[in-house]
Symmetry: C2
Subunit: 336 residues, 2 copies
């Protein structure tokens, strides 16, 4: 099992990416294909006392993609970036899965154009993991602003399978994000999706959920079009930041509250850990023909190590092959 890592993308690249990849390698017992500046990669390995046994380094020649770059740059002016080279190596079968913490739009565009979609999948989805209670997969978290009911049904299928085969959740509970609990709620998209989902026996469909239930962590897969999903994802991120701000406000308000912090410190740190995105790894691109895991832009080494494990389990799961064998989507488009 070999995982390809884009070492030059993300806010903390290359140091945290390379460090995390090497930690992941040790923990997950995989080989690595590290794409990026060889000297920088070797420097990080030596700084953290990691051997590079079982690692291949591929140095890319072009400029790397930044968070500000246009999504199409990965196949145009920056097609020799670490991200583009990593995608091409994955396409060529040089590795079994890939991790990148780079520009989401570019990675999705690159994955769609270079790796292609799974046969029968009309639209790929970004499956973000929300860290409230047990991990919850939100699909689509922003890949497709406009979706049809059959896309949402496919997201439910793929999300359910991912949580089962990659995250080890038995019979994952799937819910549709809507503006009310009742069957009749939502726009035509939600109404039609609801009717379709309740008739698919292999999906454990629990019905509609409203925004306030997201934090309860009672569901394993949340389904939405990419516009709604992106709003939900970012509102949850904002809420997370808000919780941190509230805690710091509570403890830094006055002398008495500062003393309180001395007693509560351990407890606060535990909460930070419980609600951190780090240990849950990254977001899978569901519907792409090879396993790609997108780490958060601000990923640290802990998060990247978790992404390596996710990519490994995604590749091992056989899920992509299974989805390809389904081809049940009524609106299947022919892949050229």
């Amino acid at each position: 099992m070999k995982i390809i890592v884009d070492c030059m993308s993300g806010d903390n690249a290359p140091e945290e990416i390379v460090r995390g990849a090497l930690e992941g390698k040790q923990k997950e017992n995989v080989e690595l294909l590290l794409v990026g500046n060889e000297a920088a990669i070797r420097e990080v390995a030596s700084k953290y006392n990691f051997s590079l046994d079982g690692c291949t380094i591929v140095e890319n020649t072009g400029e790397n993609i930044t968070m500000e770059d246009d999504a199409t740059s990965v196949v145009k002016e920056k097609n020799e970036s670490s991200m583009a080279v990593a995608l091409k190596l994955l396409k060529d079968g040089q590795g079994d899965g890939m991790v990148s913490a780079g520009n989401t739009g570019a990675l999705l565009t690159g994955a769609t154009l270079i790796l292609r979609r799974i046969k029968g999948v009309r639209r790929p989805a970004l499956g973000a993991v929300l860290p409230f209670g047990t991990p919850t997969l939100l699909a689509d978290a922003g890949a497709q602003a406009v979706c049809a009911p059959e896309d949402l049904v496919m997201f439910a299928r793929m999300g359910s399978m991912y949580m089962n085969k990659v995250m080890g959740v038995e019979n994952p509970k799937v819910a549709l994000i809507n503006n009310g609990a009742e069957e009749c709620k939502g726009t035509d998209l939600q109404k039609e999706t609801y009717q379709a989902l309740k008739n698919i026996p292999e999906i454990n469909f629990a019905g509609n959920i409203e925004g306030r239930e997201i934090f309860d962590g009672e569901y394993d897969v949340l389904i939405a079009d990419g516009f709604t999903g992106n709003i939900v994802l970012k509102t949850c991120e904002g809420a997370g930041k808000f919780v941190k701000k509230c805690l710091s406000d509570v403890f830094y308000r006055n002398f008495s509250s500062k003393i309180a912090y001395l007693f509560a410190k351990g407890s606060v740190n535990q909460l930070r850990k419980d609600t951190s995105y780090d240990s849950h790894g990254g977001a899978p691109f569901l519907g792409i023909a090879k396993p790609v895991i997108k780490g958060h832009g601000s990923s640290n080494h802990i998060s990247i190590a978790a992404c390596v494990g996710q990519a490994k389990r995604y590749a091992e799961s056989g899920m992509i092959e299974y989805i390809a064998s389904l081809k049940t989507s009524s609106t299947e488009e022919k892949d050229a």
Copy 2:
């Protein structure tokens, strides 16, 4: 100035509603028209030592509307409920504005069918107030699941005017909720709305905002279709509940953290107050031809008193008359 209060709707009716209305009367110097069970109303007044001077009580004869009732019940089998009677009294000019903490769907349906829309407004919006930083008005928070760009533009106009004239915000900053900051982001709805909003000089349009910026409280009016707005509103409510849960987790985790609470108590209570929906009152129905303020279902007396003040300032603002004089909507429908 006379405010009509639906005393029998809401989780805490009639006690908290009547108590809050009477507090609001005192604070805002208004008269009240209290709709509901006369004996119950008199009992609450006497329990809290309020005089009923300046109050008229209208006893409704029919069954009251519950949170589970169908939205159309207000004009059908429950057209003699406290809510329906209050709406009809407002329609007949027996009061200047109205407050209800009842079933949102029923109140909106009743308001639309009994009070009608303002001429030139195609779709009314629910304008919820978010309590992060300075109060922010979210419109539409759930009245219309499907909207056109001209609806969103009207929400921006009305929301902006409401924050200025009712909430006293100078030159309110308006933002469009979207899946990215750039002009080109979103579905056709957001793209077209963006282009329209940036060309209206009387709207202080600050561009798109993403979900994570909602908690910063930097904007005065947030615009969205009712589906998206409802998801945002309820995700924010969920986040608020989550903050409370996190705080209680932090302090109840172990012995040391329980001691911490003794020192942090005052500070925690201040945070609870700052992020409470109570003191900000309720949600205006923007685009309805008379001022209706919807209190949260779980409103207590503090919240209802604030709603009475809001209804008064909404009625005084002359905003409804001004919107009617505009009739700028290109898709204006004729009110029969």
